[in-house]
Every structure is written in structure tokens, then in C-alpha cells.
Symmetry: C2
Subunit: 238 residues, 2 copies
């Protein structure tokens, strides 16, 4: 997981892993450890012992645990202890639907204010996606996909949205890890959906871009087994 090594370096949300605050580093380490499965659900986490393991004080650790609690990845009973939260399949499905909705509004906002330069970067990412799809390069596709969505998030310029989607994306990784066996071959479909999203962005059509992005996320969750097939129909007229 190298720092965002994009061509232009436009997005650089990971500045210098060294100069980050200890609390921030502890937060990311713990978050990664949880989504990687190194810290299974129910595992007790002590501020002190964890601080000793990380070689730092208890304060940054506490700060990281508070943020993780806000993300819903750990739960702490006051004066009793902190443990990593169980993320049931039901809960994972909920979070997926939440993420779909938030990615939708993010794309709608991006459609209203994305400039041509950012759109060009998106087009370049699309080309890399096509190459990766033809070559079946899973790693390259994952990286391009991450950049694709991150670019849209940044285009909104909304910190709340960026932060929330960052937290939810961690759960997405957790969901992919649970997807048993080989990943389904949905790469061509995902490529087509990404193209449709970019087309909507270029047309400056927020509603269309939102609908396509949301549907893209939902379908992706379905093929990953996070959501059951045949989601409820959309298009209700108020």
C-alpha cells in the first residue's frame, strides 16, 4: 500500500508516513489490522498493552481507538474494556448500502464541479482499466479502481464525505476478504459501468451520475456476495 503514486500527484492524502502524528499512524495500523483479519472480532484491546506493543504512549492509542469506535470497528464498554466489533453479514450489507448512497451523492456533487483536468485524469484511469481488464491484471485494476473513486471523492471537496467514504471503504475491503473462492469475473461489467459514470460526469448530469454510481456499487456488492441479488426496484415517484 504505497502512497498514492498517481501520475500527476494531484491527490496526496497520505503525506509522508513518517511525519504523521502517532495517533494517526496507530489509527491506520489498527484499521488495517482489523480489515486484514489480524485482529479477529471479539479480541480484547487494552490501551496500555497495545501502547507497549506499538512502542508509544497510551494517549495516541486511546485517540486511535476513539476514532475506530466512531467508525464502528471497535466498541468500548466504559471502565470495562475495548474489543473489536463483530461485523455481521447483515451489518456489512447495511454499510454497503450506506456506501452506495454516499458514493452516489459524491458523484452528483462531482458532476457539478469537476473541472476538465480532473475529467482528463478520469479518462486516463479508464484507459488503464481497459488495459488491466484485457490483461486480467487484478492488482492494476484494484489500484486504478481505488484512484477512480478517490478522485471523485476529492472532487466533491467535502471533508465529511471524504472521511466517511474512507471509513466505509475499509469495510468494503473486509467484505472482499470474506468473498470465498475466486473473485467473480465482473471486470468487463465494472469497466462499462465506470465508463457510463464518466460519461455522465462529462455531461454534467448529477442525477444520472448519481444513479449510475449507486447502481454500480450495489451491483458490485451483489457479485461479491455482500448483498443478495435482486435489490428492491428503484424509480419511485414521490
Amino acid at each position: 500500500m504505497a502512497a498514492a503514486k498517481t501520475a500527476r500527484g494531484r491527490i496526496a492524502p497520505l503525506p509522508e508516513e513518517d511525519s504523521l502524528s502517532l495517533g494517526e499512524r496507530a489509527y491506520r495500523q489498527l484499521r488495517d489490522a482489523i480489515v486484514e483479519g489480524l485482529l479477529p472480532a471479539g479480541r480484547k484491546i487494552s490501551e496500555r498493552s497495545l501502547a507497549i506493543d506499538l512502542g508509544i504512549s497510551a494517549q495516541p492509542v486511546r485517540e486511535a481507538l476513539r476514532r475506530l469506535e466512531q467508525d464502528g470497528m471497535v466498541i468500548t464498554l466504559p471502565r470495562r474494556g475495548t474489543m473489536v466489533a463483530e461485523v455481521s453479514p447483515v451489518r456489512l450489507a447495511e454499510l454497503g448500502r450506506i456506501r452506495a448512497a454516499l458514493e452516489g451523492v459524491a458523484t452528483a456533487l462531482a458532476a457539478e464541479r469537476m473541472d476538465d483536468a480532473a475529467l482528463a485524469v478520469l479518462a486516463a484511469i479508464l484507459k488503464r482499466m481497459q488495459a488491466g481488464t484485457e490483461a486480467h491484471d487484478v492488482d492494476a485494476l484494484a489500484e486504478a479502481n481505488a484512484e477512480f473513486h478517490a478522485l471523485i471523492h476529492q472532487a466533491t471537496g467535502n471533508p465529511f464525505l471524504i472521511r466517511s467514504l474512507g471509513s466505509l471503504q475499509a469495510y468494503d475491503h473486509l467484505g472482499r476478504r470474506r468473498a470465498v473462492g475466486s473473485t467473480p469475473r465482473d471486470f468487463p461489467k465494472a469497466l462499462a459501468e465506470h465508463r457510463g459514470i464518466v460519461a455522465a460526469l462529462k455531461k454534467r448530469d448529477p442525477a444520472l451520475a448519481e444513479a449510475r454510481m449507486r447502481q454500480h456499487i450495489l451491483r458490485s456488492l451483489v457479485t461479491n456476495g455482500v448483498l443478495p441479488p435482486q435489490s428492491p426496484r428503484k424509480g419511485h415517484a414521490p
Copy 2:
């Protein structure tokens, strides 16, 4: 949650105000102070001086500021200072649309798992709303409205959703405070929308409930001047 006194001074926190951690209390106090306008945008906040003002240590204050930063209400430049963030009308509109989307998902989830008891409580709240509308009791309507939405949030059982909507609701209060002059007379319309939402919940129709709730929030934002009229049409087919 009975202890909502709705007096002039403090908004009563949900659990007993005494047994909360100092960090939690500091967080709520600061949040309320910001949305009430006591701490204007750009105002510098020092961990130490604020700790002295609150009569506590600097750690809980720091913890509260971190949470507020995650909510987007303050921004802190490392080693330079923390100040309350400027919430421009544009940003307020973004947050409103985000809230509309999240309230929509929450209502969809609630439609799938809300039990009859909760539905009965909703019906009771509707009756209070009708009485409040006829009597033009603004305070009673506000309280009933808060309970209405809080009940739906709780029905989802999703901590992430509950927490996020709680933060966004603070911005809603801020938006209402900016609404100049007397509040527009949208009470009958809001009542009808609430009834439509409850009807969709009773029919266990997640998509319909979501659409109605989202439209309700968006229209409310429009009448409050947070969003411009004539939002982009919905109903795009992917």
C-alpha cells in the same frame, strides 16, 4: 428518552448528564456552542485555555476537538492551531444533500426491520404532530419531529448511521438558525410527508419509504433556503 425538557438553556443530553465522560461532555458543549453561534467561524480554540474555561484537563478537550474535526466543524493545522470551520452556504447545501441520502437509507432499513411496537409509537407521534400543526405549537412540532427521525434512526440499529446522522443534524440546526425571518408555513406539508413515510413503513416498502424520506428532507431544505428550488429530477433508469 423522556428528559427532553426543551427549555431555553441547554439541550438535555440523552443519558444522565453527570455520568458521562468529560470528553463526551466537552464534545457536546462545543458542538452546541458552535451551532448556536456562540463560537463564530474562524474563532481560534486553544486546548489549554479551553480546558481552563471548562475546568477540566486538556486531554478530554483534545478528544472533543478531534471528534469535532471528524465532523468537519473545526479544522486544526498541526502545530499551528485549531479554529472553528467556516460553513459556507455551499457547504451547508452539500451536507443537506448528504443528510437527505442518509436519512433515505435509514428509512429503507427501518422499513425492513421495524416492529409493530415502533410503528405504533410513530403513529402516536403523528397524532401529536397533527395537534401541534393545528395549534401552531412550534416547540411541540420540533420536539415531535426530532423524536420521529430519532426513532427511525434507532430502528436501523446501525451505529455508523446513527452517529453520522446525529452529526449532520447539528448542521441542520445551524441551517435553521440562518433562515432569516419567520419560518415558512410548511407545517401542513411536512405533516403530510411524515404520514406518507409512515404509510410506506407500514407497507414494508423500503424503496418507497426511502424516496419519500429523501424528498421530504430535500423539500424541507428548500423551504429553509439551504437548497435552491427545483432540485434535479429523480428517477433515472440506469
